[in-house]
């Protein structure tokens, strides 16, 4: 497996006012390093506020204006500077929008997918690949059913033939069958040699679909494990283990605050050594 993307020492800081006149800097992500390989789905799990969405937004340049981003960025083993990164974002990195509201309601679906830079033929072939009927091209977003809408959203990310696909919380509120269907599309994408980053707070889902799971806590990645390790029960980081045990379908165990703290202290940032 070839390395597609490597981010080293990423930090995201926000500058904000604590009261009327004094400004403070608050850390969103601190010294985060991660690699994405071709053919894999890398799930990033964590609670809201752990920084997992910030990571996706930092990659796709979607952060608000008061954010400061620092870090080194490599694409297929090469250093990438700021200007080249801007170009990569259009061609090699692509985001699957979270919901249908990201589409323009007054524009036909086909036109939005090709975005004035691709051919309609490309759109047709992508639609064929995702089992979407050709007539969907001339529908408006409000005419799409739930399943169609999800495929259209995925096709907007696939048309550029990008090799890195970022999916930010693609499944919240979906029924289990819909969620599985969406994630199967991700699997299909990964099988073509692309890399998928799946941002989710649903550990259960991440274990089902991803190849590797990265656990975020308080702006850091504290552990990266192969997804199969969860079911085999070989979790070396005590915090990751606790996350898994606390799932309602497992032990639903309630740990005390002191226990959780000691897990974090004992486990540290394990992935640093293991990679």
């Amino acid at each position: 497996m070839g390395e597609l993307l490597r981010i080293e020492h990423l930090s995201v800081t926000f500058s904000m006012y604590r009261d009327i006149f004094s400004r403070v800097e608050s850390k969103g992500i601190e010294d985060l390093s991660i690699s994405l390989y071709s053919g894999e789905i890398l799930a990033i799990v964590g609670a809201s506020g752990s920084g997992k969405s910030l990571l996706a937004h930092a990659i796709m340049d979607l952060l608000p204006y008061n954010a400061i981003v620092r870090g080194d960025f490599y694409y297929q083993g090469e250093y990438v500077d700021g200007r080249r990164l801007e170009r990569l974002r259009g061609t090699e990195l692509s985001l699957i929008p979270q919901s249908i509201t990201y589409l323009d309601p007054t524009m036909k679906v086909g036109k939005q997918v090709i975005q004035e830079q691709f051919e309609m033929d490309q759109c047709k072939s992508i639609f064929a690949k995702l089992d979407l009927a050709e007539h969907v091209i001339s529908l408006y977003p409000f005419q799409l059913s739930g399943g169609m809408a999800r495929r259209v959203l995925v096709s907007t990310a696939l048309i550029s033939n990008a090799s890195v696909i970022v999916a930010d919380e693609p499944t919240p509120g979906m029924s289990v069958t819909d969620a599985v269907e969406t994630l199967q599309m991700l699997r299909q994408i990964a099988n073509e040699g692309k890399g998928c980053i799946l941002i989710t707070h649903d550990l259960d889902l991440a274990i089902e679909v991803a190849d590797r799971v990265a656990v975020m806590y308080d702006g850091r990645i504290i552990d990266i494990v192969p997804a199969s390790n969860f079911k085999r029960g070989v979790l070396t980081h005590p915090y990751t283990n606790a996350l898994y045990r606390a799932l309602p379908q497992n032990d639903f165990k309630s740990y005390t605050a002191d226990e959780v703290e000691s897990f974090l202290r004992k486990g540290g940032n394990q992935h640093v050594g293991s990679e």
Binding site: S15, P64, A67, D72, L85
Partner: protein, 289 residues
Amino acid sequence: MKLIDNNNSKYTRFSVKSFNRRQWAGFFVVLGSLFLVILALVGTFMPEQSYAIDYNHKYAAPSLSYLFGTDELGRDMFYRTLKGLALSIKIGLMAAFVSSCIALVLGTLSAVFGGKVDSCILWLIDLCLGIPHIILILMISVSLGGGEIGVTIGVIATHWAHLTRLMRAEIMQLRNQPYVHVARGYGHSYFTIGRKHFIPHVLPQYIIGLVLLLPHAILHEAGITFLGYGLPLDVPAIGIILSESMKHISVGMWWLGFFPGLLLMIIVLIFDRVGTALREILDPMRSQK
């Protein structure tokens, strides 16, 4: 190489100096308000002799003893201008205050009751915004016999609409906040919720709106007086001074219009900047810059 070169990219949208933006804004608000207050006080309590008629010094060009020169009756234009501006500020403050109160009451009624009350108030807003301000003020002022009262009422009647719309939107949006519903569930009365949740939220918007109304009110008052439908000729109003100066501008007495006009513009600009700076400090939407 860096993901983002921090000194040379669009991510560098501010720099941390010893004074941040809000502190600068606060500094400006204090300084600007101080200047305006002093001007208004000096203008109001100035003895009438300081701009009395003095035929010995007719048509004097600006000099050290007459900073802004004198007019055809030998009146000191510097003091006349100060008096006129103080009057303008007084009328402007009065008008802006009353129309912002109207805005607060109507905006709240509109948002709280909705339905017919809301449609009725929206209709009034559209009616008011649909007629050019200057014409509406002119009609009201003339029909009330002109003078200080006529102008003030004219300005009040035309300036409440924008702020009403803003207040209405703010309160409507607040009304549907989960924390307001939840507070109702704890058994708090509308009165308590209004006092503790709504007022602290709406007050900054209200103050900013009030301050930003002032320059409009002042300019409209000056404009209507300039056209001859506002304050009477014997009052040293800035509009009167400017319209009188028009008679002399062709014979080269530029100072009669230039200095009063310039000062009026500066005052209006200061009000506008103070309002903008206040927004910088109080408006939560801009609070993170």
